[in-house]
Amino acid sequence: MQESASLWVGLGRVIKQAVLAATGAPWVAELVHTLAGVVGILSIILLSALVLVYLERKVCAWMQMRLGPNRLGPFGMFQTIADIIKLMTKEDIQPAQVSPVMWGLAPILLFMAAMTTYAVIPFDAGVIFADLNIGIFFFVAVGSQATLPMLMAGWSSNNKYAMLGGMRTVAQMISYEIPLVFSLLGVVMITGSMKMSDIVKAQEGLWFIVTQPIAFLVYLIASVAETNRTPFDLVEAESELVAGPFTEYSGMRWAYFFLAEYAFMVGASCIAATLFLGGWNGPFLPGWIWFFIKVAAMIFLFMWFRWTFPRIRVDQLMSFGWKVLLPLSIVNVVVTGIGLWLFFPLV
């Protein structure tokens, strides 16, 4: 199956061989191959942000009986490009009272964290930047690094709204990280591996959403919270905190936050598709298209939530996370353990 795999693997191999033939040095070929992967991931992030901003607007508009962007290009598709040009040409304003180093570093660090998570996402059989044997662990660990830049942004902005937003980030991310991890644990227990490719292979027959529905639900809710989207967008909370940690940012710096946010959303969708929806498995179509469809469905779900639900309050967020989600995910782990012990007793 891996041999029949997609054109992406082939493309990588061709690049590698071409460079090897040209330079004759295997390490150069390896380097170029890796760089190609980095470029690939970067372009995925940037392109997906580009498309998602457009889609978000369109979906939002449709749900609100509006048309959405429709002026620039066919169906308004170039609207986002115009926005990017606008953001890039904007003046870089740094408020006088900010702590410059931290304030400048925060958006970059956040984007880096978002980008790094993509290393372990299997887009297709063999198309994974680093198929670590601790893949999920890596994702969780790197994903949770988003807390720090957000707090940095909030604190260094020297703005009370931003500060409140930064504080909320920490509280929210820590609270929801735990149920998130526990929900992933069920899958790991069944497959007995944290390696992404193993997990996907384990789902060739049955997707884990069938065997682990509670885990999927918990993951869904926790990942909405992790990606700061309604109903858990307390960090930004437009009607309360103006824009949370991003209040003092403008232009390209703000765009970094924006990009990271979408990157996290796509990342969370990718993990959901990998762990619960069978990854690249699917009949007829090539694996990467299946993966793409599943991710798109997840993203639509996220958008659907956002444009339907009101925002939850801070104390409700906390009590929901600790009193509902966490017990639920622990119960799931226990039930999974008992099930495994009953049906697949350890030898």
Binding site: M63, M65, R66, W304, F305
Partner: protein, 131 residues
Amino acid sequence: MFGIGLIKGLSVTLRRCFSKPNTVEYPEQRLPVGPMFRGGTLDLNQEKCIACSLCALACPNNAIELATEKTESGKKALTLYRHHMPVCLFCNYCVEACPTQAIHWTQDYEMSSLTYDEQIIDCMAAKGGAR
């Protein structure tokens, strides 16, 4: 209880997602302004006007500036008729006050301009839409 309301909400937005949008694409499509439309600028019919200045008297906010003079035949005639649009309340009092129905609203509602002075409409010079 828990979850039903959320799902109902989701169903509403999903249904709307596939229904016809309610918006009008403004510069190309325009909604009719309605038969009683009050807005735009004052359209003065100088033949009908008897320069009685009742409109200026009726105006709550002194938005109409007019001046008259006696003609040779002893009748009053307009020399100046200005509609100060920025202070206009669009209350229709002037139109109602006019004994000869000499003033009407133009059907134009795109009234923005670059300078303040452009907003002061000389109704004697303009025919129909003032700009």
